[in-house]
Symmetry: C2
Subunit: 237 residues, 2 copies
């Protein structure tokens, strides 16, 4: 929507930051050039262009000029800025995965049902997981790569603990939805111990995911992990 040329942005911002919104401020083209990282001649040209476009006004002041940003110019910059802002802020913060359901409700199920994790799930995630994790096998290298980097994002962090006999590592949880919203309150787990397999995604939910969305082993499944700031009561290495 904004009509202003990209090259003029820095010049306009520079003028505004010098107070040229409401006052005529004295700015030399040499100074201006220095500030925007261009030559004096370029700055001079910018001012001429901007004046021609009605974005600034200038009045002679002895040998120099005093410059003020017009309403039109200010509107232009603000609207450009606003549209950039909204574009950046509306950026969806989610990571998509796609893979196939594999059987694997053995080991994971056992660990996640331990009291040391269960009470943290309830407290931090808001529910106790249905016993057993759903395992999703990723095949596309793009998804495996994303899986490898998943743990770097801010997470809901479950502390590790010890039961006297052995220790259990931390768990990072990421809220996720299944198959384009068929289930919204799932969560993907990143475990401290399993750095061994980047092609596997472990998913939990308050109920049986297979039953809730009607899938069985071997079916394709989509998992969308939300990275927005919902997750991050804690942040950890």
């Amino acid at each position: 929507m904004p009509e202003i040329k990209l090259q003029h942005i820095l010049t306009m911002v520079q003028l505004l930051s010098k107070g040229a919104r409401h006052n005529f401020v004295e700015v030399t083209t040499a100074d201006l050039g220095r500030n925007i990282g261009r030559s004096q001649q370029a700055a001079s040209k910018h001012l001429l262009d901007l004046e021609m476009a009605g974005y600034i006004e200038r009045v002679r002041r002895g040998q120099k000029f005093a410059v003020r940003v017009t309403d039109k110019g200010n509107t232009e910059i603000q609207s450009l800025f606003a549209s950039l802002k909204s574009a950046l802020e509306s950026a969806p913060a989610a990571i998509d995965f796609e893979g196939s359901v594999v059987s694997g409700m053995g080991e994971g199920a056992y660990y996640m049902s331990l009291e040391g994790y269960k009470k943290q799930f309830l407290e931090k995630l808001g529910y106790e997981p249905y016993p057993g994790t759903l395992n999703v096998r990723l095949t596309d290298p793009v998804y495996m790569n994303a899986r490898r980097e998943l743990g770097r994002h801010p997470s809901i962090f479950l502390e590790g603990f010890s039961d006297g006999t052995r220790t259990y590592g931390w768990v990072k949880c990421y809220r996720a939805s299944i198959n384009d919203g068929a289930m919204e309150n799932a969560a993907v787990l990143v475990l401290e111990r399993t750095h061994y397999d980047d092609s596997m995604l472990e998913v939990i939910a308050p109920v049986s995911i297979k039953d809730a969305v009607g899938i069985k082993n071997g079916d394709r499944i989509k998992v969308q992990v939300r990275i927005d700031n919902n997750n991050s009561p804690h942040q950890m290495p």
Copy 2:
């Protein structure tokens, strides 16, 4: 500080708004070109440049590419955006005037001492003005021009009133400081009735300005009117 080229901003923002921060998203150069208002070829070049600079990564996906913004690329855009934001927000919102003190404590003093105004001053400005306005004669056309437009800014608005015999117009107040901070709690008045003289600035304060800053008729004086959102309990035509 940002190293990214201005021409690439729109491209990066477009990618980010499509979710390319966390996922590889499929974007064709033709679509991208359309979105940034350039040709398909230009978009293609942008992607090549950005990839070369390490701001994005691409993977072939059949015939198309899937694109993701790297950490470096995201940092670059965010920092550019942040510096623009801070430059725009730090922009001083004040209008400077300079002129000479003239005698003129007659008429203004009378009006401003009317009960209908006095109680509004106390309520909205926080003090009762010292009886009498300080008049400042502006000579520079730049200041006269600014004076003419002063009333368009958000103000502390005093309602007009009637005493049964005649009516008294509204008054807009703008907090102001005198001579670079020698006095901080002055206020400039814009009266409904006086559209007749753009070269005169009427200033009030809780005490005698002349005494407080040590000036007399004929002296040069600087008045800085603050336009920030401090003023604007009301807004009015």
